[in-house]
Assembly symmetry: D2
Homo-oligomer: 115 residues x 4
């Protein structure tokens, strides 16, 4: 079993053991995802740009980032489960679409323009 | 190879083929993640609460949700890669911690209190 | 003096008294804004849809919502200040544009479509 | 009348003229706020840290930032209105609390620690 499927099933079992399924409608889960993204943002917000690369690899920040990114992933997997989506498949498919939309180039001089 | 590792490597190759690595510092990637979470929120925001469960399984919304959730996952995996984190491992570990923090109960009557 | 201008000046004085101006570049402030929006989301996420209207007017939730919305506004005003924008003027102007984009109608049957 | 009160009333009138009040429950408005914060993040995400200060003052980016920050403010004011909060008062009060929590110091050497 793939790890995305494994983690999705564990998160579902975690939810069911606590009878929290009734709270897990898509809008509520999206807000929970936002809450976790907010906690991730708080860890990064005041780090000086020129110290970022080293700062994110130092403890305790490194582990704290892992915890918040894990929470983001758990709610994302839970939302996909509730919506009935195969997230691994949807992501492979989106990456293929992105590859066509932004062809590789040897001389991109700017960041991608957001359409 | 696991899904998470496979998608992380594909996203890294996608980035390198476009020479976008120079844009992918942790704060910029966190803002990109927020941008994709915002697009996901826009798909859900005005759906009436009592039609949510059926609405998210109808087309074209179902596929659109998959695309935006895929973009959220791609930036999350890219951020973990840049930070040097094993996200699958961090998530298994966080789920174990959450299991201790919120013991299963046969009669939870309220949602978990956010600490 | 308008209250938006007054609050902007107070937030600027607060920042300068702590010598925090060096942390307040636009990307860092945007992440700080996201952090506060995340805290607001956490207050709302598990409230049942059919109890929302009454729940948000009860204490202590009502005051907690005020605190988090205040933090969102403070970082938004700070960002506008750093960027050199007159936010009150920009908002009046945007509301006028929105009025043209979505003409009033006596029989809208659906929510606005996000373009 | 204050700016905040004026804009709140205009946004309420805008909503009522389109009969959109039925969509404006607190969780839906919070998601709409997240959507606009996401659009703001997209404008900033790939700007290089050392060009930020000048980039945000150049057109067309400067006006685009004003539009997205205006949308964030409009949904924030709408949410405060629906919740029954005086946002200007709540913000003055929060700023006073923050002033006690983080006393001014002549030699802060780091960013504020998030509690």
């Amino acid at each position: 079993m793939s790890d995305i499927e494994d983690l999705t099933q564990r998160m579902r079992a975690f939810t069911e053991a606590r009878e929290w399924g009734r709270f897990h409608d898509p809008k509520s889960l999206a807000l929970a995802l936002v809450g976790e993204v907010g906690e991730l943002a708080e860890l990064l917000q005041w780090l000086p740009a020129d110290e970022l690369t080293t700062a994110v690899r130092q403890q305790p920040l490194h582990d704290r980032l892992g915890e918040e990114m894990a929470d983001v992933l758990l709610y994302l997997l839970r939302l996909a489960d509730v919506v009935g989506l195969d997230l691994a498949e949807a992501t492979r498919s989106k990456l293929a679409v992105n590859g066509l939309r932004f062809p590789p180039a040897s001389s991109w001089s700017t960041a991608p323009i957001k359409e």
